[in-house]
Subunit: 362 residues, 2 copies
Amino acid sequence: MKPFLSRQTMRYSEQHLRQFVEQVLLTVGVSLSDAQSTAYVLIEADVTGRHTHGVSRLPLYVNRLESGLISVNPQLRWSQKMHPTMARLDGGNGLGPAVALQAVKQSMATAKEMGIGAIAVYRSNHCGALSVYCEMGSREGLITMAMTNTPPAMAPWGGQAAYLGTNPIAWGFPRGLQLPPLIIDMATSTVARGNILDAARLGQPIPLGWALDSAGVPTTDANAALGGGTVLPTGGPKGYAMALAVEILTGVLSGAGIGPTVYNPYKDQNHESNVGHFFLTMDPQAFLPGSEFYQRLEVMEEQMRRVPATSGAQVTLPGDRSAKAREEYTQRGIPLDIDLIGQLDQLAQRLGAAPLSSPESL
Amino acid sequence: MKPFLSRQTMRYSEQHLRQFVEQVLLTVGVSLSDAQSTAYVLIEADVTGRHTHGVSRLPLYVNRLESGLISVNPQLRWSQKMHPTMARLDGGNGLGPAVALQAVKQSMATAKEMGIGAIAVYRSNHCGALSVYCEMGSREGLITMAMTNTPPAMAPWGGQAAYLGTNPIAWGFPRGLQLPPLIIDMATSTVARGNILDAARLGQPIPLGWALDSAGVPTTDANAALGGGTVLPTGGPKGYAMALAVEILTGVLSGAGIGPTVYNPYKDQNHESNVGHFFLTMDPQAFLPGSEFYQRLEVMEEQMRRVPATSGAQVTLPGDRSAKAREEYTQRGIPLDIDLIGQLDQLAQRLGAAPLSSPESL
């Protein structure tokens, strides 16, 4: 889902982009550890082609850090555990990627020891692409589910004002310890809000069916969709139901914000966002011995890829495009559009950091 | 999703319908316990308005039992547990509702003790409406997720032959021990196959957008959709991705059939169906103390219901329609269409059981 491209892009290596992000975050007082976590998560999104959730979010993060709306030095706190496999994490209003990484790592450690781990997170922030956490868990052999709530974007079914977020859900399934996992990552809206943000940034229209304006009328104007309009759930009431399930697990169950008390980091300047996440990790060997899960998954995939394609198409599995992007971008560099590069350079200049567009200066 | 009604219906009490189902199953040799479980699950679907998954499935179950393709006297076996909260159940090719009820009850008992329970099931059969299992878990205070795979109905994205089932996913969220839970139950296809079966049975067309025929062309002919055609995933690639996640958890992870080795009970006369299920139950008190989860869920629901409705509509939450059906049907009886009643009476007559339409004879 990357329909919006400006005319020009420039390519940078993962390593270069990560260093840029780290350096920028360090200049505003973030700890090295949190800066590294955030750089890792954002650039993992870019290198898998999920540019809406990559370094394009850095200016937002920096603005919130500078205004104190994201904590530069968060105190993460675990609630007292009621059961050995489940826990709740107070993210201390830290950078979302740093908080979420800590949560998923705890969930993974628990699953490795106990077979399953479930972590609910509150007082977090926008955490980038959920696929990154699922890929991390599944690269270590664990089935990984990740969810997050997001600021209001979709109306309840039958309603005309936004309440639920675009509330994405992601799954990672390990293909074996030597192979990249199978990754599913989807907003429960027709498109992720990032796609509409991209269109607005580039001054391009959005397709009909993505969003309604503030009067509940279908619109092709990205700004109308963002300014008081609502995004439509995928598949109508089914996407709505999935978004609700995500809201309950990430918002209600975690103690995070719910609906309008998940504050929009682009608009609200008075509250911490109080985003909630939910992670579930499971060891497939709790069910099937040895590598049987991997073998069975491989058989299924091979069978699916052999299904005759419709004319002009080919059978694809979720994550195929991202895996291809990673292969190309790792070799040739990650393409970023020049408008974004300009924004990032301005940001770096203002902070006295080396600009993205001068690799040699890093 | 109940667009197909024959002109006439008759109403029967839950109790009467359950007794009818039990009696029919007893005549073909099913144990009292399995007959009761199956009657409970089927009639719970009917009393919540999910008629596609109710007593309308009884003739299928009986046919399979009589031909030995569902075991009359299944031996259920638990795999050796690797971890205390997770287990795998061999359903012994028993009646799906009886197998699935045993699995979800085990998952519930585990969650009550350990906070979380995850059960993967293989060698099961069509298990009725997943909502029934979620409602059961959530009425006892547990967040409950249920999934099942189903025979091939949807093509992989880009493909033209069916591989994945309509693979439904359901969630139950407890509102407190005195209140009915919030239930989400959705096929990952545009519609459940049961809706197309209903249309075919009544000789009615289906809307465009539900299905493709065997050549991959959109069709309004229910029989063309059923005979070699494919059902479309909800929301396009997103529904496909969800169906795939369900297939992996219910089929790959459990050891059940996958894709075409989940045999269609309506068509295949040579194999057990080997359906797989997956249940996850969690105690919200593992995350939030006391009744805080219920209170927060109530606040969210109240806020959502206060969102202004679009003109002519009203805000609805998943499960609203089912809750309303239960209220009406419990008082006035469950309406069944007369064609179905005729089928069930024929079935009873053939088996020497009392017909459904003669309440006094039961």
